[in-house]
Symmetry: C2
Subunit: 470 residues, 2 copies
C-alpha cells in the first residue's frame, strides 16, 4: 500500500469510524457471537499474495464487527467504562503514523518532553503537589508493579541487584480485601509471592480498617516479618469504596512503609473540586496510579504512575547498556527507558494532550460531574423501589445493587435471580452491566464512565431491570 | 468534539498523515531540537476551556514536529528500525476507535480470537510447530519477563504463590554477554536479581559458546545453585549474531532448564526460506519472543511470546477474581487476562492482521530479502574500502563497522574518530545510525528494517561516511 492508496483507504476508514461513532447505538453493546465464531470464519493461513484493503475491510465488517463488545457505546456500564473520545482517537491516528519510540530522549524528544508536560498538567488538575514526578505506562497492572518494585527496593535495599533468595525475614504487603487483583499479580511477579499479601478486613462500607491494618503490621513485625508496602485504594473495583488514606498514611509513615495508592479508576475525578475530599491524604503516598484510559476519555492504553521517590524506582530498573548511552543522558536529560521494565515506549502522551485540550478542564469536570449525578439518580431509583436494594455507598459513578427476590427466597435463589436478571438485561443489547460478589452474595454493578452516557442510557438500564423483575 | 467534527478533523489529519508518508524525507531523521525546547514552548497548565482541534494541530506542527526523530523515515538505520506501514496505521486507527479491551473473551471476542488466528498465521509463516501457543504483549521486555516468570515457576514450583524469600539455593540464569538488557531487567523484576545472571562468553563472532555454557551450569549446580533459565539470542542487539541454539537446546534439555529464545528482532525473518537455517533448533525452546513491531512493519507496540508450556505461564499469573468470572471462562474459553500480568489489553492483533494481509507472505519475504541484500551490499563496500573495517558477520540486515583511522592512531583516537564520524553523518539529517561497543571499541551500526528503505538510502549513508573520513 503506497501513500496514495493509504490516503484513499484512510479517508474511507475515517468515514466508517465517524459513522460508527454517530451510530454506535445500532449495535448490541455485548457481542452475541459464540466462542469460535471468529476463528472458524477466517482462513487458517496468511495469504500468500497481498490483498486489497477493501477485502480486509469487508472481512472486518463480516466477521469482526459482530464479535465486538462495544466499549465505545454509551450503554457500556460494565466493569469500569473505558471510552475513546474523538480527540483521543485523533491522537492515536497520529501516534501510529509517527511511530515514535521514546526509549531515549534523542529517539523522541517530542514524546519524552510532552509526557512531562501533560503529566504536569494532569498532576495539577488532580491537585497533587509538585513533589510527585510522573511516568506513563501501558496499564495500571504495570504501574502498580513498578510502584511495588520501588517499595521492594526501599524495604530491601539492593533487591533488584541481589534478588530475594537470600532475604531472611518474610516480606509482607497489605491491602484491603477489596484491592484489585493487579496487586496480587505484582507480588507474584516480584518474587514476594501471593502469600506475602495480607488482606486487611474492611468496614461495612468496604473501606480498609486502619486499626486492623496497624494491628496486622505490628503483629507481623513482632513475628519477624518485614513490611514492604501498603496498597490503599481510592475507588475499589467492586464498589468504588474509598480506603481512609488520611488514616492509613500516618500508619505507614510511622513505620517507614511505602504507601501505594491505587486510584486507577477514580483518580482523575480529583479534577472535580467537590469530589476532592475523597482523596484526602493521598498526597502523603509514595506512589499513586491514575488511568486516563478509564474515566478520562482517552483510548486504551495509558496509565500514569505518580511517584514521590522516583530515584528509588530508577534504582530498581536503570541499566544503561553501551548501545543506548547518549551524550544527552550524560548531561542529565531524562531517558524514559530508565524508569521501568519496558524499553519500547509508544507516544501515549499525544492522545492525552489532545483530550485535555479538546475538553479543557471545565469540560472534563462537566462530564465527570454529570456521571456522578447520574449514578446518584440511579441509586435514588434503586432506593425507592421495594423490589431492589442498594448494597454499597456511591462515592463516584458506580452503583452496586440487587433485586431482593421474593419473601423467603434463599440467598442462593436470590443470587441466581440476579444473575439471570443481569444476563437478560445484557441480552437486550442496549446496555451492558457487570457483577461482583460482596459478602459472598451476587451483586449487579452499573458503572458510568463513557463520555456520551446520558440520562437516557441510565433510564433505559433501569427500565430493563424493572421489567426483568416484573 | 462531536462525530461530525471528528469526521472533518480526521479527514484533515489523514491528508496530513498521507503527505507525511509521501514526504517524510523532507525532515531530518534525527531531531535537531535541544533538551527543553518542547517543554518551554508549551504552557505549564492545561487549558480551562476546550480548544479547537485546529489550534492543537498548529501546536503539533510548530512545537512537536521539529522534536520528532523520524522512526518512519527510510533513512532511519539506528537501533533496530521499527516502521509503521500504511496497513498497520489503518489498523491502529480502527483499533483506537473501537477501543477494545480484551481481558475476557466476552469483553472482546473479536480481539481474543483474532489474536489466536493471527498468531497461528505468524507461527506457520516462521515455521514453528503447532505445539507453540502464542500471546501478544506490548514489548519484548514484557514478553521476556513472562517467559522467565514461567521458567521461574518451573524451576521453583509455587514461586508465584510463595515467593522466593524462603528459597534456599541461589538461582541462576544464563545468557551471552551480548544478550539484551531486557533479560537483566526481567531478572531484577522477578526477584532473582541482576546477580543471578551469569553472562557466558561469546566466540569471535559474538555467539554464545555452548561449552562455556555447559561448564558454567555444571559449576553452579556443583556449588549448590539452581539453574532457572538459559536465554539464547537469535539476532543480538549489537551485531545480530546468532547463538547456536541447536547446540544450546540439548544442554538445557539434559539438565531440565527452561530455554528462552530472544528473537525479538530477527524472528520474523524466519519467513524467508533461505534465512531459516539461522533458526535451527529454536523449535526446541520453551519460549520465544518475536516482535512484529520491529521488522514486520507493524506500528509500536506489539510483541509476541510463543510458548510450548503455556500452562506453566498461566500457573504463574492466573487469578480469577469474582468480578471477572464468566460463564464462558468456565466452559474453557480463553480469557487473555490469565496469560499475564496486564489485565488491560489493546486490540493489537488487528494491525498485525492488516499488515499480513496487505503484504501477503510473498510481499513480506520480498522486503526482508531486499533488506538482507542491502546489508550485504553495504558490507561489501566496507570490505572493499581500506579506510573502513567490518567488525562482525552480517547474518541479517545489520552491519557493524568502523573507520580504521590513520596508521599509529591509538584505540582511543580511533574511537573518538568514529564517534565524531557518526555524529557528523547523523547531523546530515539524511540517515540516522547508532553505535555499540565490541571488545571495548566504539563501533558504528547500520540497521536496515524500514519497509521503504532502498539502495538509494544505503548508498547515501555510505557516501556520507566516506566523505566523513576524507
Amino acid at each position: 500500500m503506497d501513500p496514495a492508496d493509504f490516503r484513499r483507504n484512510a479517508h474511507a476508514l475515517v468515514d466508517w469510524i465517524a459513522t460508527y461513532l454517530e451510530q454506535v447505538e445500532r449495535y448490541p453493546v455485548l457481542s452475541r457471537v459464540a466462542p469460535g465464531d471468529v476463528h472458524s470464519a477466517l482462513p487458517p493461513q496468511a495469504p500468500e499474495r497481498g490483498e486489497a484493503f477493501a477485502a480486509v475491510a469487508a472481512d472486518f465488517e463480516r466477521v469482526l464487527l459482530p464479535a465486538l463488545t462495544h466499549w465505545n457505546h454509551p450503554g457500556f456500564m460494565a466493569y469500569f467504562a473505558s471510552s475513546a473520545s474523538p480527540a483521543g482517537i485523533l491522537g492515536e491516528m497520529l501516534s501510529a503514523a509517527l511511530n515514535q519510540q521514546a526509549m531515549l530522549w534523542k529517539t523522541s524528544p517530542a514524546s519524552t518532553e510532552l509526557e512531562e508536560v501533560t503529566l504536569g498538567w494532569l498532576r495539577e488538575l488532580i491537585g497533587l503537589p509538585a513533589a510527585f514526578d510522573g511516568v506513563i505506562y501501558d496499564t495500571a497492572s504495570i504501574s502498580t508493579l513498578h510502584g511495588l518494585a520501588a517499595a521492594r527496593e526501599q524495604a530491601v535495599p539492593g533487591a533488584s541487584a541481589h534478588g530475594l533468595v537470600r532475604v531472611e525475614r518474610p516480606l509482607r504487603a497489605y491491602a484491603s480485601e477489596h484491592a484489585h487483583s493487579s496487586v496480587d499479580k505484582a507480588l507474584a511477579a516480584l518474587g514476594l509471592g501471593l502469600d506475602a499479601l495480607r488482606k486487611i478486613p474492611a468496614d461495612a462500607d468496604f473501606r480498609m480498617r486502619p486499626d486492623a491494618l496497624a494491628s496486622a503490621i505490628d503483629e507481623d513485625v513482632a513475628g519477624g516479618a518485614r513490611p514492604v508496602a501498603v496498597v490503599a485504594t481510592i475507588g475499589t473495583t467492586s464498589t468504588t469504596s474509598v480506603d481512609p488514606v488520611a488514616a492509613i498514611a500516618p500508619i505507614c509513615e510511622q513505620r517507614g512503609i511505602w504507601l501505594h495508592v491505587d486510584a486507577a479508576y477514580a483518580g482523575v475525578a480529583a479534577i472535580v473540586p467537590e469530589l476532592r475530599p475523597r482523596f484526602e491524604g493521598w498526597e502523603r503516598a509514595d506512589s499513586i496510579v491514575v488511568n486516563p484510559h478509564k474515566w478520562l476519555f482517552t483510548p486504551m492504553d495509558i496509565s500514569v504512575l505518580y511517584c514521590r521517590r522516583m530515584p528509588t524506582l530508577r534504582a530498581a530498573f536503570s541499566l544503561v547498556p553501551e548501545f543506548l548511552r547518549t551524550a544527552e543522558g550524560d548531561r542529565g536529560v531524562r531517558n524514559l527507558m530508565d524508569t521501568g521494565i519496558q524499553l519500547g515506549r509508544r507516544f501515549r502522551s499525544l492522545k492525552l494532550w489532545m483530550v485535555l485540550r479538546d475538553f479543557g478542564a471545565e469540560g472534563l469536570r462537566d462530564v465527570m460531574r454529570e456521571h456522578v449525578r447520574l449514578a446518584r439518580l440511579f441509586a435514588s431509583w434503586v432506593d425507592a423501589d421495594a423490589n431492589f436494594e442498594r448494597v454499597a455507598p456511591v462515592p463516584f459513578s458506580v452503583v452496586c445493587f440487587r433485586a431482593r427476590g421474593s419473601d423467603g427466597a434463599s440467598p442462593a435463589d436470590v443470587d441466581a435471580l440476579n444473575e439471570r436478571l443481569m444476563e437478560r438485561v445484557n441480552a437486550s443489547g442496549d446496555v451492558f452491566l457487570s457483577h461482583t460478589r460482596l459478602d459472598g452474595r451476587f451483586v449487579i454493578r452499573l458503572a458510568i464512565g463513557h463520555y456520551r452516557t446520558s440520562e437516557k442510557h441510565v433510564a433505559r438500564a433501569w427500565e430493563l431491570l424493572r421489567q426483568g423483575v416484573a
